[in-house]
């Protein structure tokens, strides 16, 4: 049964990879029919992954939220489902492509952890596990969608910023009057961030090459993480530099306006923020009080969950402040997701605490 589960999840990973490539291709050739096929394939991939998860649940006897492997697989599924529901009425291929690559990378990361099904350790035997962890991941999935949308916002903001290079498509708009600081911030998000992420993954692969671990096979890291993220970054950088005009045209064809992107990112955060706050913070507090005798102990995971909450609180409050432009909202959203990722991975790997199991 475990083999079937693994086979299904690996198949879905392949599906996400193909989806990503096809989404990019459909954007280049401007094929609507191809785009629809991609969407069907994405549905199929996530359903296959769900089947794998269901088999694991059946075998384990509990929902797949008890360790890093299960959490990552669940997280990737939730991201894809939320994206598909989010774009149910209005398809947004580049968001779906972003969700596919995120899901693929998360599956790649999950492959580094033990797949073994073990009974729940005493600390996790509580109904609060499902409410706390499941809601946290649903909230974080919404943040992931907001991240992709905010990234696309920065991309569009940056590339459509130069009228001389995109004369055919640029209309009069407000973002012609951008400050150099805004431009710099968007360059950091669009170019430097993916490169840093890639360097991070390459470093992880190098570390695994030097110190091989039984579960952390180099091939898995290379296949699931380095190749897709590298492919994505190289494609992005090359196409952006070489085919600026074409990219601008593509963006106009495939991306909604900045206002709509901003509104969509807000919608995702407006869904994720309350779910995350209730699940990760409040239910976490209740469970901690029941299990450890105190509702808050400044454990690194707790503190970083609080920081995540604070960053998104800044986002929501900044939107209420008059004069805050969309680009800064997008950048806060990107920072928020990076903080979310650190809460998920960084705390477990770099800081010791009570949440080391996941």
């Amino acid at each position: 049964m475990i083999n079937i589960e693994n086979a299904l999840i690996t198949t879905s990973a392949f599906g996400y990879l193909i989806c990503f490539i096809l989404y990019c291709f459909s954007a280049i050739v401007l094929q609507n029919s191809l785009n629809k096929t991609c969407r069907k394939l994405l549905w199929l991939s996530v359903i296959v992954e769900t089947l794998g998860i269901a088999i694991r649940c059946y075998n384990a006897g509990y929902p797949p939220l008890s360790n890093m492997y299960e959490s990552m697989v669940t997280f990737s599924t939730l991201i894809v489902y939320l994206t598909l529901f989010f774009t149910f009425n209005n398809s947004l291929p580049l968001l779906e492509a972003g969700a596919s690559i995120l899901a693929l990378i998360l599956l790649g990361i999950s492959s580094l952890f033990s797949h073994e099904i073990r009974p729940l350790i005493p600390a996790l035997q509580s109904n609060w596990l499902y409410m706390h962890v499941a809601l946290s991941f649903i909230g974080e999935s919404a943040f992931a969608i907001a991240f992709v949308l905010s990234y696309l916002y920065c991309l569009r903001f940056l590339l459509l910023d130069k009228p001389s290079e995109c004369q055919s498509i640029i209309t009069k708009n407000s973002y012609n009057k951008t400050s150099s600081l805004e431009k710099f911030a968007s360059i950091v998000v669009v170019y430097i961030l993916p490169v840093l992420v890639f360097i991070g993954f390459a470093y992880l692969a190098y570390n695994l090459y030097i110190n091989p671990q039984p579960e952390s096979k180099l091939a898995k890291v290379v296949f699931f993480i380095v190749v897709p993220s590298g492919f994505y970054i190289i494609a992005l950088l090359v196409s952006t530099f070489m085919y600026k005009n074409s990219i601008c045209n593509l963006l106009v064809n495939w991306l909604p306006s900045l206002e709509i992107l901003d509104a969509m990112a807000y919608k995702a955060i407006a869904f994720g923020y309350p779910v995350f706050t209730i699940g990760a913070l409040i239910f976490g507090m209740i469970w901690a009080n029941k299990a450890w005798g105190r509702y808050w102990g400044w454990d690194p995971k707790e503190t970083w969950a609080l920081i995540t909450f604070l960053v998104y609180s800044v986002y929501l409050h900044a939107r209420l402040t008059k004069g805050t432009k969309g680009i800064w909202n997008a950048i806060i959203s990107v920072i928020g997701f990076l903080v979310t990722l650190f809460t998920l991975f960084g705390v477990n790997f770099l800081l010791s605490g009570l949440h080391s199991y996941g």
Binding site: A123, I278, I282, G293, T303, L354
Partner: protein, 564 residues
């Protein structure tokens, strides 16, 4: 001045800045190791230790800076909530009276239409009406409760902060450890607080000594007197406790092929010298743990606790021993009894992880579980490289040592004491530590005394495998090799007293309701303005994205039977 401060804190920008500062400072709190000894910072942060200690960043989340930031946030929240609640209530109760026609005309989702095209919209239900000089305003609202969401979130946050501050001053935590049969004194809440204060002052003294080496000794002496007084208070309560807690039974439940199976729990029942008279021997086992309660609980959660089986009478170690990985711990159980000062049982219960036990406003939690080894068996041989070789008649000799107890065997003039035993010995950062409680690489530290009480020498005892590999350290006439050890379960309980925690839960309830109302309940205002100039306005406003407002607008026009 007061007005200026009010306006400053009513600003959303100031609130954002405070939140950002709190987030950044919180990051520091996860980077700088917390609640270590002051000397740790001097050793590990040679360039910044002075500032870490000076700013209390060694206990950042309880430092004045952090508490100050939280107070600023609370103040800003109060002012902002007060300011906005006034607007919200006006909107909630007197929406029509607070609006003007130009305001409605400025809404993004609006249109102008000839009044004659509106037809008989007067028949539509739930429209409120207001006559003004410029025309008549009609309003229909849905999801009004959503307006209360934001104030509720902020009031909830304030309640949580308030509860946390009250808990900080009124609540206490204490760690209790003990083996089966131990009788642990539960001091009064005030005494536990005194011990906490003593711990804080002790740390302060260490910190001051490092920060200000030339500080007047009188000041330090005063602090030391305070510590002494607090310790006396605690000790008095320890010796005359209101309650006693008896650790009646400890056992582990295991998973067994999907079925629950109770293990044989008590590995201390047979052939043990420790704990034979539990009600009198191990009275003062408890210890106050002011800052390390989290660390104490860590064993539970970070996997240091192996889920390996522990079967009674089968714990003797040998070099070929492999741990049984086939069983997984389902739960650690502690059966306790509470006795009053007359030794009468007044309560009893089983404590498990996630299943605490409450008594007299005090709650006990299963926070830690480990094996301890108080008794070990050693093989003794003569040490050929000793300056004074031993005169053992026959080799090897066997020696049983208990932790901290002196033993004088017949075959030697020396008295031996087991100073320390580490079942899984490692050297980490020049410290001797045990990385687990399983006997994987045992190491015992032995001290020998002469008849006059002076130290004769020290020795280490390792496993036979290590000894055969040449790892023998002894400046005594004897060499020691570890043979076996009898483990006992040791439970770690967390005692918690927090009578005002309900304020925090009330805050959480407010927050949940507020979040639900704000983000999941749609608020719409549907406006129809019949102006005197025969040009009417239809507009929709609310707290949803523009696309939703547009849908609502289309629905309204359909209801009005007009085409835009």
């Amino acid at each position: 001045m007061a007005n200026l401060v009010y306006r400053l804190f009513a600003s959303l920008r100031i609130a954002i800045i405070i939140i950002i500062i709190i987030a950044v400072v919180s990051v520091l709190g996860t980077i700088i190791p917390q609640n270590r000894d002051p000397i740790f910072y001097k050793t590990n942060f040679p360039n910044s230790w002075y500032y870490i200690l000076l700013l209390d960043f060694d206990d950042l989340f309880r430092s004045n800076i952090y508490l100050g930031l939280l107070l600023l946030l609370a103040f800003s929240t109060i002012v902002c909530t007060y300011t906005r609640t006034k607007i919200t209530f006006k909107k909630f109760y007197k929406r029509l009276k607070s609006v003007s026609i130009p305001e409605i005309a400025s809404y993004r989702i609006s249109t102008r239409i000839e009044s004659t095209k509106l037809g008989n919209f007067y028949q539509l239900e739930k429209f409120e009406k207001l006559e003004t000089d410029n025309g008549t305003i009609y309003l229909r609202t849905t999801g009004k409760l959503s307006l209360l969401g934001s104030p509720l979130i902020h009031i909830g946050l304030l309640f949580i902060l308030l509860g946390a501050i009250i808990s900080h001053y009124t609540g206490v935590e204490m760690a209790i450890t003990g083996v089966e049969g131990d009788k642990v004194a539960i001091p009064s809440i005030e005494a536990i607080k005194s011990a906490h204060r003593a711990d804080k002052l002790r740390k302060k003294v260490l910190k001051l000594n490092l920060l200000y080496p030339n500080l007047q000794p009188v000041f330090i002496e005063n602090l030391k007197k305070q510590i002494q007084s607090l310790e006396e208070e605690y000790n008095h309560s320890q010796n005359n406790p209101k309650y006693w807690l008896i650790i009646k039974k400890l056992w582990i439940e295991y998973y067994d092929n999907g079925n629950d199976k109770k293990s044989i729990s008590n590995i201390s029942t047979s052939s043990h010298q420790i704990g034979v008279n539990p009600y009198s021997d191990n009275v003062n086992q408890s210890f106050i743990n002011t800052n390390n309660s989290v660390n104490n609980s860590q064993n539970f959660n970070n996997g240091l606790h192996d889920t390996e089986s522990l079967i009674a009478n089968n714990q003797s170690y040998n070099d070929n021993n492999h741990n049984d990985n086939s069983k997984f711990v389902k739960n650690w159980n502690t059966l306790i009894e509470i006795l009053n000062s007359n030794n009468e049982i007044i309560a009893s219960g089983i404590i498990k992880v996630n299943q605490p036990f409450s008594f007299d406003n005090i709650t006990f939690y299963q926070a830690n579980w480990q094996k301890v080894y108080h008794t070990i068996n050693l093989i003794v041989t003569s040490n050929p490289i000793s300056t004074e070789p031993s005169k053992l008649v026959s080799e090897p000799k066997f020696l049983t040592l208990c932790l901290g107890e002196e033993v004088k065997p017949e075959w030697s003039s020396l008295t031996f004491t087991l100073f320390d035993f580490m079942p899984d010995f490692r050297i980490v950062d020049n410290n001797f530590v045990s990385i687990s409680d399983e006997i994987r690489n045992p190491a015992a530290r032995i001290v020998a005394y002469n008849q006059d009480g002076s130290i004769a020498g020290r020795a280490w005892a390792f496993s036979a495998k290590q000894s055969n590999a040449g790892h023998i350290f002894s400046n005594l006439p004897y060499n020691f090799t570890f043979h076996s050890a009898q483990p006992k379960f040791q439970t770690g309980l967390q005692l918690s007293y927090d009578p005002y925690v309900w304020i925090v839960w009330l805050g959480c309830l407010f927050m949940i309701c507020g979040l639900w109302l704000t983000f999941f309940i749609a608020y719409y205002e549907e406006w129809i303005v019949i102006r005197n100039n025969n040009l009417s306005i239809i507009a929709v406003n609310g707290n949803r994205p523009e696309a939703n407002l547009k849908s609502k607008f289309i629905a309204l026009t359909q209801e009005l039977n007009i085409t835009i």
